[in-house]
Structure formats: structure tokens, C-alpha cells
């Protein structure tokens, strides 16, 4: 649910990075925060939650023009992985306009990826949405570890996670920034498209 801020002529969209613990959600956001300084507005909020950190900041994407005469402001969030942070997760996921699912390419995390995706689906169902409805982009992260640690092949990850969904997917290395921008850009594109569809539908 994007918020239209009439006073500032802005549409606020919420994009959430979801994925199993230590898959690189925060690394994705940290890279964006560091590399696109001109487009970041305000400070990055970082909350230490058990297992990983929960991040949040505002982002003003450039070069996408205006939507319905309004600028677009993105709120980027990561979701804390641990089950006990239900209030935080609820706040972050509620009204999410787009989701980036960050999957860990490490072979030993295969089960964790699948569980997390199911978990996302479950959580979204609580808000009347689902992984099939929400604008979703899949990222296969940590490809830079190829040759150092046993990784799953892209084909296998696609089969595990994206066979049913068939959403746009990207290989990435959040640490080096490879694929990070492309993932966000695609998610933003899908989110805006879906917003436009929704708006026309209600007109």
C-alpha cells in the first residue's frame, strides 16, 4: 500500500528485503546506502536484532520520472529473521509494495532458503497478499564465493525457489555490489507497474 503524500507530491513505496538469516539482506542495503549517496535521504537506521540487523532508510530513485505527477520515495527495509521478532516483522511487511527475496547460494543453506520463502508466503497471507501477487524479485546472493565454498548451481536454485513463482531473478554478490543495483531496479520497476495497474483499476 503506497502512501500518497499530497503535500510533498510524493508517493512513498515500501520495498522489503527478505531472506534467511545471514543471507546478505543487510549487506545489500549497506551497499546501496554507501554507493548511491546522492539518492539516499536521511540517516540509515540500524537496529541490532539477534542474529542479524534490521536496517531502514529512505531512497529517492533517479531517472524514473514522476508517477501521477508525484515523485517516488522508496523506504527500504530488511526484515529480522528470527521468529520472535514478530512485531518488527509485522510492521515492516505490512503494506510492503515490493519484496526482494535474497537467497543464500551456499549449499548448506538450501533448506533455510526454502523455509524462509515459505515463511514469507505465510506472513504475506496474513495481510491478504501472497508471493504470487506481490511484486517480487529473487536474488541468488554470494556468487563471489564460487570456488571457495560449495555453492548451489543457479539452475538448482531456480528449481528450488523460482520454479513456481517465475519472477525475475538475479545472480549477485552483495559484498562487491555485483547485481545489487540491478535487483533493486527490477523490483522498483515491478512495484511501479503494479501500482499503476492498481490505480487504473480503481479509477
Amino acid at each position: 500500500m503506497a502512501v500518497f503524500n499530497i503535500r510533498n507530491r510524493e508517493i512513498e513505496c515500501k520495498i522489503v528485503y527478505y531472506g534467511p538469516g545471514r543471507c546478505g539482506k543487510t549487506t545489500n542495503l549497506e551497499y546501496i546506502y554507501r554507493s548511491f549517496t546522492k539518492q539516499v535521504s536521511g540517516k540509515m537506521v540500524s537496529i541490532d536484532t539477534d542474529g542479524d540487523r534490521t536496517l531502514f532508510f529512505d531512497f529517492l530513485p533517479m531517472g524514473i520520472g514522476r508517477v501521477m505527477g508525484c515523485d517516488v520515495r522508496l523506504q527500504l527495509y530488511t526484515v529480522p529473521g528470527q521468529v520472535k521478532y514478530s512485531s518488527t516483522r509485522k510492521l515492516v511487511l505490512k503494506g510492503a509494495d515490493g519484496v526482494v527475496f535474497v537467497a543464500d547460494s551456499m549449499e548448506i543453506r538450501r533448506e533455510k532458503n526454502m523455509l524462509s520463502l515459505k515463511d514469507l508466503h505465510n506472513n504475506l497471507k496474513g495481510y491478504g497478499s501472497s508471493v504470487f501477487k506481490i511484486p517480487l524479485v529473487m536474488q541468488y546472493n554470494k556468487r563471489d564465493l564460487e570456488g571457495q565454498i560449495p555453492l548451489m548451481s543457479i539452475d538448482q536454485m531456480k528449481k528450488d525457489l523460482n520454479a513456481q513463482l517465475k519472477v525475475p531473478d538475479f545472480e549477485a554478490s552483495a559484498l562487491t555490489g555485483n547485481g545489487v543495483g540491478a535487483t533493486l531496479k527490477e523490483c522498483l520497476k515491478l512495484t511501479l507497474k503494479s501500482l499503476q495497474r492498481e490505480l487504473k483499476w480503481t479509477e
Binding site: 502512501v3 521478532y85 510492521l91
Partner: protein
């Protein structure tokens, strides 16, 4: 509505986090006041251009006051447009405040005030003995072990007491009632909801496949069939000590259920447990250790306003004490342990057990926690009879 009120409503509909986000994205300046029936003080939050700058709650001020209000689950809020001239005591941005507060709430650092998660209108049962049978909700469902899904219409029996079967299900959607068939008719013991399990550990532990209770769908229920072969394989790989611990837990659940049934059959005339000596572990005592019985007997007894209630008899091989990693709602906090004269025990290695518990697959882990919740809730049912007895003339 008072004259300069710009925005007001109910906290159980719109939480403080939501209200602050709305006012925040609107860039509002003014005073947000909160009331809850559980507190005499009214809370005030001052906002300047959408960000909280100060707050007060009774004598508490600033961030501390603001954080405390995140625990208010019900109550009212009211926002007035006002010039805010107070000092900027809270230096954090609103999102930082909100995310930090919710994290603290989830970590239990902020006290929840008001009704905790209502059992959303579960129909109360028309049974003379229970106003409401407790509904147990399970943790997040782990889909990894589910091999099939099954649907049951409201009112249908899922399993029948005394019949054979060893399937274990996890409830995906809906509420299920567990009933015991007794000499005095049917006794509803518990209702369990999403994420809870139908079936018993006994079928995995000992291959025993006689159903110990009847399970009925209260509303339309969707169940996930668990891969019992995988659960059995996982069980087989556990250490002997942990297997013994699980077997003891299963026995404890049966014992508590039997005590409830016994009380029910005797028309609620549960016998008071009369202690002949001081307890080994007093109810509410501080205990760090666990014990395994090597000889003799022990008794789990809960002190209630109506008298002492025997919840379980423990025998050789049973565990008791403070199993800090799993709360079954008994000793030491909510029950005492009495011992027979011949009782001898040894100490299990709790650290090893805890590590093993934490390494279980999510499904197995959830299953064990579900058993612990059932023990807690069934004990409450048994004690209910004691209360009934003292209430009646």
C-alpha cells in the same frame, strides 16, 4: 470530539507504531495523547514535523516514556494540532524509534499492557465443566516435513480414541478439539490451532499406534500430513539421554491427562494431595538443576487456592527439575516435587540436552514445544476441578 482534535481512534485497531508512521509521513506537528484503561496516567508524545521530540508518561519523560507506550495494546489515541515548543529531547528519527521499540517489545524489554493476544472469539464450549477450553496456537509452520494436505469439515472426527493409527499432522488452518472418552462421557480437554500438532510422540518413540484421545475438527480444518519416516529417522539419531527425556515428557503429558480424566470421572471430586513430608522442590523455589529418577517415585503437585493437586507420578527414568530450555508449566515455578522415601536420582547433563534440543529440525522442535504447551494447559484443566470443588457449597 474536542475542538482541535485532528485525528483520533482506537489503539487496538491502529497501533502506536502505525499512528506514528501516519503522522510522520504527513509531517505533522502537534500533541499525541494516549490513554489505556489499564493505566491511570495519560501519555503525551510531542511531534515536530513528523518526528517525536519529547514524551511524558506520569513522571517518566523522553524516550523511556515513549517506549513504554508501545506496549499498550488497547486504549485510545488523540492527535491535536498545536505548536510544539519543547526542547528536542528525543534525538532519534521516528523510524529508528519505532523499530527500536518493536524490537524491545519482541525481546520482552517493554511490558505489554492490556489484553494479550485474544483467542479471537473461539466459541466457548457448552460443557458444564468448562467455560472455555483453552486454545493452543503453535509456532510458525515449517512446511519442510509436510508431504500431503488433508481437509476436514467442521464436526468430523480426525482420529478416534482406541483406534489404530500413527499419522502425525500439523494444523495449517482451523481449530481442533482433543477429547477423552471417559466413563462419565466425553471430556473436552484442549483446543489446538494453527501450527499445533495432532498425534503423539509415542508412535515415534515406541511404535505404539493406539490413539489415546479423540480429535474433532471444530471448524473447517486443513491439516498437513507430516513425513513420519523423517521424524522417526531424526528421532533415531538422537542421543539415548535425549530419547529418554522425550519419553519422560510424553509420559508426563499422559499422566496429566489421566489425572484430569480421573477428576472428571469422580464428578470433579479430585482428591487433595496430602503431603507427609516437606517437598523436595518447593513450588516457586529457585532451582537450576535437573534430575533423573534411578529408583523410587516422585510426585508433581501444584498448590492451588483450593488445595494441593497431584498432577503426575514420576517413576524410574523420568526427568524433573528445572529444564530451563523447555517450560512445561510445572516445577519449579508452578508445581512442587515430593519424593518417596526410596527416591534416588542422578543429574543429567542439561547443557548437552539443551544443545540437542536447539539442534532439532524446526518441525521436531515445534512438536516438542507443542507437547510442553499441552502439559501446561492440561494441568490447568485438572486444577480447574479443584477450584470447582471448593466453589461449590
Amino acid at each position: 470530539m474536542k475542538k482541535n482534535t485532528a485525528f483520533s481512534g482506537n489503539l487496538s485497531f491502529l497501533s502506536l507504531a502505525d499512528v506514528l508512521q501516519l503522522l510522520g509521513s504527513n509531517g505533522s506537528t502537534g500533541l499525541l495523547r494516549l490513554k489505556t484503561p489499564q493505566r491511570s496516567e495519560v501519555g503525551s508524545i510531542y511531534l515536530a514535523r513528523g518526528n517525536p521530540v519529547d514524551a511524558s508518561l506520569g513522571r517518566v519523560r523522553g524516550l523511556e516514556a515513549l517506549f513504554a507506550m508501545f506496549g499498550w495494546i488497547n486504549g485510545e489515541f488523540e492527535f491535536r494540532l498545536e505548536d510544539v515548543t519543547c526542547e528536542n529531547v528525543i534525538q532519534k528519527s521516528r523510524m529508528e524509534v519505532i523499530l527500536t521499540a518493536l524490537k524491545m517489545l519482541d525481546d520482552g524489554e517493554i511490558e505489554t499492557v492490556g489484553m494479550a493476544e485474544e483467542q479471537d472469539g473461539e466459541a466457548s464450549l457448552d460443557d458444564e465443566h468448562f467455560a472455555v477450553v483453552p486454545v493452543i496456537k503453535g509456532p510458525l509452520i515449517d512446511y519442510w516435513y509436510i508431504v500431503d494436505e488433508e481437509n476436514f469439515e467442521a464436526g468430523t472426527k480426525i482420529v478416534e480414541q482406541g483406534k489404530h493409527g500413527n499419522w502425525i499432522w500439523v494444523i495449517l488452518e482451523g481449530v481442533v478439539e482433543i477429547r477423552k472418552e471417559t466413563n462419565r462421557g466425553t471430556l473436552p480437554i484442549l483446543r489446538i490451532g494453527n501450527g499445533s500438532f495432532v498425534g503423539s510422540l509415542a508412535s515415534i518413540i515406541s511404535g505404539r499406534n493406539v490413539r489415546s484421545a479423540t480429535t474433532v475438527a471444530v471448524d473447517n480444518v486443513q491439516l498437513g500430513v507430516l513425513d513420519s519416516q523423517r521424524l522417526a529417522n531424526e528421532f533415531a539419531q538422537l542421543s539415548p539421554e535425549f530419547k529418554d527425556f522425550l519419553a519422560s515428557l510424553d509420559r508426563r503429558l499422559r499422566q496429566v491427562t489421566d489425572k484430569a480424566v480421573e477428576a472428571f470421572e469422580k464428578s470433579g471430586q479430585i482428591e487433595e494431595f496430602v503431603a507427609r513430608q516437606d517437598p523436595l522442590i518447593a513450588q516457586g523455589a529457585h532451582v537450576d538443576e535437573g534430575f533423573v529418577i534411578t529408583q523410587g517415585e516422585a510426585f508433581v503437585v501444584r498448590e492451588t487456592p483450593g488445595g494441593d493437586v497431584l498432577l503426575a507420578d514420576l517413576y524410574r527414568g523420568d526427568f524433573f527439575g528445572n529444564m530451563s530450555f523447555l517450560d512445561i508449566g510445572h516445577e519449579p515455578n508452578a508445581a512442587a516435587i515430593y519424593s518417596s522415601k526410596t527416591l534416588e536420582t542422578r543429574r543429567p547433563n542439561l547443557e548437552v540436552l539443551e544443545r540437542e534440543f536447539n539442534e532439532l529440525s524446526p518441525t521436531f522442535h515445534n512438536f516438542i514445544e507443542h507437547m510442553a504447551h499441552c502439559i501446561t494447559a492440561t494441568s490447568a484443566v485438572a486444577c480447574e476441578f479443584m477450584k470447582k470443588k471448593t466453589n461449590s457449597p
